[in-house]
Symmetry: C2
């Protein structure tokens, strides 16, 4: 029986060697079978990670939000005679993405799952935020509609205060600035907000300020780039 290697990938177009251990880069050429969120992205990543010229010898299967439960189960026999690598669009596979269904199935069937070290935008943002809650929670996306989003923000802030918990969430890049405007408008002046954009990339921007301080930065915009938000009330 093969093993399922969980292979993180860079958070942007940077060199894989900047963010992945040499041991992971050395493992990649030994794998022939990849289960990926999107083949095109995975091929480009593997090519940059040292497999250029060998991509056509590899076998790719997609596992994404369109894959049914039967589709996930159909991937399992591939592991009978071969190790496989699981790769998501960016960052860690099987965290808040469809890859977790395959990992769950591996546990059921006794297939060994090997998680490998790589960039986690959530943890890099949390480390660099200075927001030392006694605990933290990741909530994915908040609601997109203004009214629902504003109440969600108030609820998240209340929970942060009660549990002294850092609250982490993300947004589709084109909505970063409207979310951030709602945060500045609706959260308490003393609540701290960390804005962490383009993590690990040349344009990396990570700042933590109180709501009151952010309100004074009238010209600041985040723009359409990958961004993690963290608040601590």
């Amino acid at each position: 029986m093969g093993k399922l290697y969980l292979i993180p990938s860079p958070l942007g177009d940077n060199d894989p060697a900047e963010v992945l251990p040499a041991s992971l880069l050395a493992l990649l050429p030994t794998l022939k079978l990849f289960i990926v969120e999107e083949t095109r992205t995975a091929r480009r990543f593997l090519s940059r990670a040292g497999l250029k010229g060998h991509i056509d010898e590899l076998e790719f299967h997609e596992l994404n939000e369109h894959t049914t439960a039967d589709g996930v189960a159909a991937l399992l026999p591939l592991l009978e005679n071969s190790d496989a690598g699981l790769i998501s669009e960016a960052g860690l596979p099987a965290v808040a993405d469809p890859g977790a269904a395959l990992v769950a199935l591996c546990h059921k069937k006794g297939i060994e799952v090997v998680p490998l070290v790589g960039p986690s935008s959530l943890m890099l943002a949390l480390m660099a935020s200075g927001l030392d809650g006694q605990s933290f929670a990741f909530r994915g996306y908040l609601p997109a509609k203004t009214e629902e989003r504003r109440s969600a923000l108030k609820a998240v802030e209340k929970q942060s205060a009660q549990l002294h918990q850092s609250e982490i969430f993300i947004e589709t890049p084109y909505r970063n600035d409207s979310l951030f405007a709602d945060m500045k408008a609706g959260l308490s002046p003393s609540t701290r907000i960390c804005v962490a954009a383009d993590i690990t990339l040349p344009a990396q921007f990570i700042r933590t300020k109180t709501v009151a301080e952010w309100r004074r930065e009238k010209d600041f915009t985040i723009g359409k780039r990958p961004c993690v938000f963290i608040i601590l009330a």
Copy 2:
């Protein structure tokens, strides 16, 4: 003004090159100033990371649970003319450890904070657990006393069911098995538990099973090793 580099370290006695990117290993020899949770551990890590023979040329300052707020503030002038590296006992610095106070101060003073990629036992466990909650929360340690711990476990399980949230917690190694016994006794048979021990180390053990399944594994013990627990109800 210098920068504060947040430098992850291995989760055990393994080779730093196994779990840290080459770019981080290349950065280390350029730093002369380190702010560390424990000097002895940090010296050993840096020595194994390629600085052997140069450790005595480095400056170490400790920042740990005994450091007062004034003590943290006193570290800041060190960064006026020099970059510094922040290193915790194991894994990511400034996540649930006293380093976060220094990072917070850097944000106040406009000092740039640069988080670097390395092993996060929490995220490696979550990836490999297959427990795809829509969200996840890290709760640190549960109460140590049996009665309080049992009610905390029930509360955590209830929240996991309500929010479809993976709940991550840790325990002092010598209490792993008593916590695990309480989990098996008190949680619902269908709740899934991931036990992730010795992550990234040769003895790595990561298994996710339902409470009902774990109850049947009568001979299984975790032992006194670093372990992350995750449940999803």
